[in-house]
Chain length 449, copies 2
């Protein structure tokens, strides 16, 4: 059912391009959706892509461009003329138009805006004001509004006039003469009511809305919680400015999940497997260097115990056990907090209660691990003193790493930093060092070296 | 704007419940959405929740129950009678009804189904056949269909009869007399066309659909790729069986992201911060034990080099550096592959090309890290031999861990196992051991101990 691009298909497509056989390409395009064509375009050379886009109907090309990934479309658009781009931008929804324009250089962008019709230019200039990670940056200006004084008949006539928007009516927002958001009405109740019925009689004033400066993630949470397909956006005076649809919010959700995953994995930029080797290396180096600095500090630290190690070299055997336990426990603890922060629903537990619970969990895990390690040592290495040290240390490491793994994301969150960062190499590195410190201190205390 | 539950609010709510003051509670409920009420209910005792649900209108209680989290609603429902539950289930959409019923014991569930009206019972029995992670498990039976032979007038009359569904019309699916899916038509084009226009003249046959046995994640990818708000579900004969709406798919996407995050963090069950200490410990122990076994194997391995360690105790200092580098590189590499597999768009790279690229990235990262470590050693420890060993080892570790981190998720994916598992403690543990082996082998080779 779903289209999947194969090398053979692509080769054939390129053959048609080289032969300038537009009718063959249009025939292929007829069976595909714009999203599929965007996938094909991403694999073409610039000249090939440009030729195809020029050949398609403007509305189709516009749709393909607005769906394409940032790198693909900027590659194509940067080499087109403002005169070619403007008619395409005119075909887009205002939110997509702004996304596209935002990626272009300011001077180039201004040239394109100057060529747009007055309404679209006004929309675009208005939307460019907002950061891309707030409600204003996600919203489109096109929406269907019904004045509260209208009849349903007048309402339907108004819809007819807005033919372009009609394809995407999810909800009709009810406003007064000053465009103040009053409520909403479903398209179906407009249709099903008698023509002379006033909107005022049948609309609902229960409407969930976003403020234009709300954070994109908050908008996403809100839409998800209340199962909304679209949400109106208002300013501080409750004036209706635009609407955000679910497809944009799904993108926000997926991006956030990706960012969290990358933060935990210690990749510092938004990279993908098909980026250049250079970009991939660069995104990975910073955290690798942090880990390495941690390792070198660890080396310095262990170096302090050189004489002790000479006396009991077996102490060295268990260093990986200690650091691994600290790292694993830390990442588990912080991930649980990160997910709980991301959901943000229900009564938030106090930090005290959280830590108490974490302590309980750590106690259980710590005892089990210590017992297994103690048993192993007694059985295989047969030195009670060392067994005691080597099992007491992971126990303490589990407790400390749990508490650190819980507190760090809470602090980062309080500071407005993505708490997922706390689950990454940072916590692993910190816990490595913490683990080593505990290990050698316990050794000094118990083992008397 | 968004409701946030505070302890004071909850206390007041409970006071009203204790005083059996239903009108005060209804007044509160008037200002809130079902999703907010579900959050409140989650914090109540069973008897309190039951009393509130019995007091609300059935449609509201049904909505609250279908939005509530699994643990909350099964706590409440398990203690209600089938006679109380059946009228609530009747108020739900069939997909929500099935989700609720699926969580109850079979005998209890059967009693409730016996009390439903014939149509709902048939829907439910039909939907219960499907696994919850396939399209059939996500779909609802309620949908708006238009026969291709109808006029738009007949179409609107048919909508009027389906008042319950009208609230959620996202798309109208066009079928023939045998219910075969032929295409779709937007509600707005039905309204805007003249009453005598035939559906056959204005519908579009470009419709994206899912097969009933498609995997839930594939449905999610499809809806996301094509920006769909709802998708029809068909069987092998193209018969229209139901439809899936975007809200259910958003849940699939978020759940998948959560599962991946937990897999990477080495938490083996779907746990949340407010689960019991016991459940939390249990979910974390398995991977901690895996990490610990790895640590003990590492100890055994290092133990083989006891005499060497006595000669050069400084060898021990750099053990954490080696294991940390291996772990960090491994998790980075596998996360990039996992994300690229999850997107699954565009031309998939061959394994050979992937590895070549990974090798390039590893080379750059490896050289930088080796250089820094070498410099550090030369400067602080001032032993060229040791510096050589200690910097060659992380270089080799970066290369090997990159390749392992890339191959493992690809293999797991081929085997049908969630590749995110490969980024977790498994890869860290494996890379710890790999790193140690490389380190001591390099030492033997270069340093000549």
């Amino acid at each position: 059912m779903e289209f999947e691009l194969s090398q053979d298909f692509l080769d054939q497509f390129v053959v048609y391009i080289e032969a300038k056989n537009m009718s063959a390409i249009e025939q292929i395009a007829d069976d595909l959706y714009p999203a599929d064509l965007a996938v094909i375009l991403a694999e073409l050379e610039y000249e090939q892509a440009e030729w195809v886009l020029n050949g398609f109907e403007k509305s189709l090309s516009a749709k393909i461009i607005s769906i394409s990934e940032t790198e693909v479309r900027s590659k194509v658009l940067e080499r087109m003329s403002p005169e070619t781009i403007a008619p395409l931008v005119s075909e887009m929804y205002s939110d997509d138009a702004v996304d596209v324009l935002n990626e272009l250089k300011v001077a180039f962008r201004e040239k394109i805006i100057a060529l747009l019709d007055t309404e679209m230019a006004a929309h675009v200039v208005d939307l460019l004001k907002y950061d891309s990670d707030c409600a204003g940056g996600l919203m489109a200006k096109e929406l269907v509004r019904a004045n509260i004084h209208w009849t349903t008949q007048e309402c339907i006539e108004a819809f007819r006039e807005q033919a372009k928007d009609i394809a995407k009516i999810y909800a009709v927002y009810v406003v007064d003469d000053h465009d103040t958001l009053l409520g909403r009405i479903s398209l179906s109740s407009v249709i099903l009511a008698k023509p002379e019925t006033k909107i005022a009689e049948i609309y609902t004033d229960e409407v969930i809305y976003s403020h234009v400066h709300d954070h994109a993630e908050d908008v996403a949470n809100q839409m998800q919680k209340y199962d909304l397909v679209s949400i109106p956006v208002v300013n501080a005076q409750m004036k209706l400015l635009g609407r955000i649809t679910i497809d944009d919010v799904v993108d926000v959700i997926t991006q956030q999940a990706d960012t969290d995953l990358q933060a935990i994995a210690g990749i510092s930029e938004n990279v993908e497997e098909d980026d250049t080797i250079w970009k991939l290396s660069w995104a990975r180096l910073p955290w690798l260097l942090v880990g390495m600095m941690g390792g070198l500090m660890g080396a310095q630290f262990i170096g302090q115990f050189e004489t002790e190690l000479l006396l009991v070299p077996a102490m060295a055997f268990f260093i990986p056990l200690i650091t691994a336990t600290g790292g694993n426990v830390g990442i588990q603890s912080s991930t649980i907090v990160v997910q709980s922060l991301a959901e943000g629903d229900g009564l938030q537990q106090s930090i005290g209660l959280r830590l108490l619970k974490v302590f309980g969990v750590a106690l259980i895990n710590g005892v089990v691990i210590a017992a297994v390690v103690f048993g192993f040592n007694l059985f295989f290495i047969k030195k009670t003193g060392l067994a005691l040290v080597v099992s007491t240390a992971p126990f303490s490491v589990v407790i400390l790493a749990s508490i650190m793994g819980t507190i760090t994301p809470l602090i980062l969150n309080r500071l407005g930093i993505n708490p997922a960062l706390a689950s990454g190499p940072f916590i692993t590195t910190a816990n490595d060092l913490l683990g080593l410190a505990v290990y050698f201190m316990v050794a000094k205390l118990l083992y008397g070296i």
